[in-house]
Structure formats: structure tokens, C-alpha cells
Amino acid sequence: MLPDEIKPAMQGVLPSTIVTCSLDGIPNVTDISQVWYVDKDHVALSHQFFNKTHRNVRENPYVQAIVRDGRTFQEWYLELQYDHSEEKGPLFDKMDMELEAIASLTGMSGVFKLRAADVYRVLSVRKSRSRQ
């Protein structure tokens, strides 16, 4: 489902934005450092803190995300459904290393600590219409 041309928007050059919703119906919007490409049908988000996003996704697995290409500002909208978490293994190690690199580049080294790689199924993807 995910086209190859979306990959530059999943390199963490610019933050991504995600919205979740609690079971009592309150939406929550936040920026995250990166959405990782796993395969054509899955992406991963980093679980770093036990925050509102984390709680919401355990209650209600549906998420919408915007990822953006750091060279062109082209944005993509993704509808996602939480699938499972990985606390070790190749995906976790890759995300852990890249997260530390992002933290270093943004002066936030030591702030980010990966607890798990949260893997989501991609339900839909489309390019943003925000650019002419």
C-alpha cells in the first residue's frame, strides 16, 4: 500500500504529527520525531513515554498521522491501526539507533528513550493536497 515515494517523509528530517482518541471521545494531537517505514503495509511509531498517545492507542487503536518530506515539505496522510509492540529485535534496535541520532541533531540527546517499537497496520495513505 505504501508507495516508495513516501520513504523520504519517513526519515525523521521533519517531525510527524499524529492524532489519537480516547475511549471517552477526546482527541489528542501531538508531534512525534519519526514514523518508521516497516514494509508496504506497516509502519512503526516509537513508544518513549507513558503519555496520552500511548494510553489512547491501547484504548482505541485508530490513529491518523501526517508525515512530511524534509526536502519538499510534501505531506502524506496515513490512517493506521495499532497492531503490536516489539521490545527487542532488529526493528527495535534500528529505531533505537535512529532515535538517538535524531535526538543528537535536535539537541535533545538523553531526552528520548525507546521503550518499544509500536507497529501499526496501514489502512489508507494519500498525498496531502496542501501544495499546488
Binding site: 492524532v19 489528542n28 494531537v29 482505541n60 485508530y62 491518523q64 501526517i66 493536497r129 499546488q132
Partner: protein, 156 residues
């Protein structure tokens, strides 16, 4: 009352997004380009480009729940305002001027990017969505993100 510090922040060179959800609790997000804060009435009017506004308008009219996040693209300082819809309408000429001012602030602030990157954004026409702020959360990345702010402590 929304403190002056937060009013100035929202009116500054920030990037901002609005989140809503539908009757099935499926969330939607859209970019926002420009906002005006009425500190006295605890209301914020956000300008949502029509090109991406439809799901937000539909959700807001259905259940009135609004989440609005603003972030400094260099400082990473960020806040989330949550509240209830007051009204939706097409944006007016004054608000289009607010959007032009906002664009110029971003260009001046983000000097590491070429100006051409800011051309071609389709932020007009847009919808003015006004909501009453009920809670404000710190959203700056880190362990304190998500903390509910005591607004009375921030009023100077």
C-alpha cells in the same frame, strides 16, 4: 483566561494542527494556517485551509470536540489546547491578512529553508473554526509532555 505568554506564542511563528474524531472514535488531523486568540473569552479561532478541512468540519459539527496543537519549529516548545466548538464559518478578509502575516513570520523564522518552500501552500480559502479552551497541556518533547497547565500560575 489564556495567559499573555500563550497568546503571544500562538500568534508567533508556529506550526499548528487540529484534531477531531468522528462518531466511531476515528480521529482526523489537519494543518492549521493562522490563529487568533481572544484571551478575554478563552476562545481561539483557527484557520483551516479548506483543501483539507472537510473531515474536521464534519467531526466538529457532529460532536464539538477540538484539540489544537501549536509548536515552535526550532525551539520545539509546544502546547495543546482542548475545548468545545463555538462556531464554523468561512474566513474573512481580516483572517486572510492574518494568514499572510503568519506566512511572513514563518519565512523570517525558518531562515534555514529557501523561501520557495513556502510558496504554493493552498491556505486560502479557509474555514474559521472557533472553540472555547477548557484545558491546556504542555506538549514540549520530554517526560513533562502532556502535563495539564495551571493557567492561573502563568498569568502575569
Amino acid at each position: 483566561m489564556i495567559p499573555d505568554k500563550l497568546v503571544a506564542f500562538v500568534h508567533g511563528p508556529v506550526v499548528s494542527f487540529v484534531g477531531t474524531r468522528d462518531a466511531r472514535l476515528r480521529p482526523s488531523v489537519s494543518w492549521v494556517f493562522g490563529a487568533r486568540v481572544s484571551a478575554a473569552s478563552d476562545e481561539i479561532t483557527i484557520l483551516i485551509p479548506d483543501i483539507e478541512a472537510e473531515p474536521i468540519k464534519r467531526d466538529a459539527e457532529q460532536n464539538a470536540r477540538i484539540a489544537f496543537t501549536v509548536a515552535g519549529p526550532i525551539s520545539h516548545e509546544a502546547y495543546q489546547f482542548k475545548g468545545t466548538l463555538v462556531g464554523l464559518r468561512p474566513s474573512n478578509d481580516e483572517e486572510r491578512a492574518v494568514q499572510e502575516i503568519h506566512r511572513n513570520k514563518l519565512i523570517s523564522h525558518l531562515t534555514m529553508f529557501p523561501n520557495t518552500l513556502f510558496e504554493g501552500f493552498r491556505f486560502s480559502p479557509s474555514t474559521a473554526l472557533t472553540f472555547r479552551v477548557e484545558q491546556v497541556f504542555l506538549q514540549t518533547p520530554g517526560p513533562g509532555a502532556g502535563r495539564l497547565l495551571d493557567l492561573s500560575a502563568l498569568v502575569c
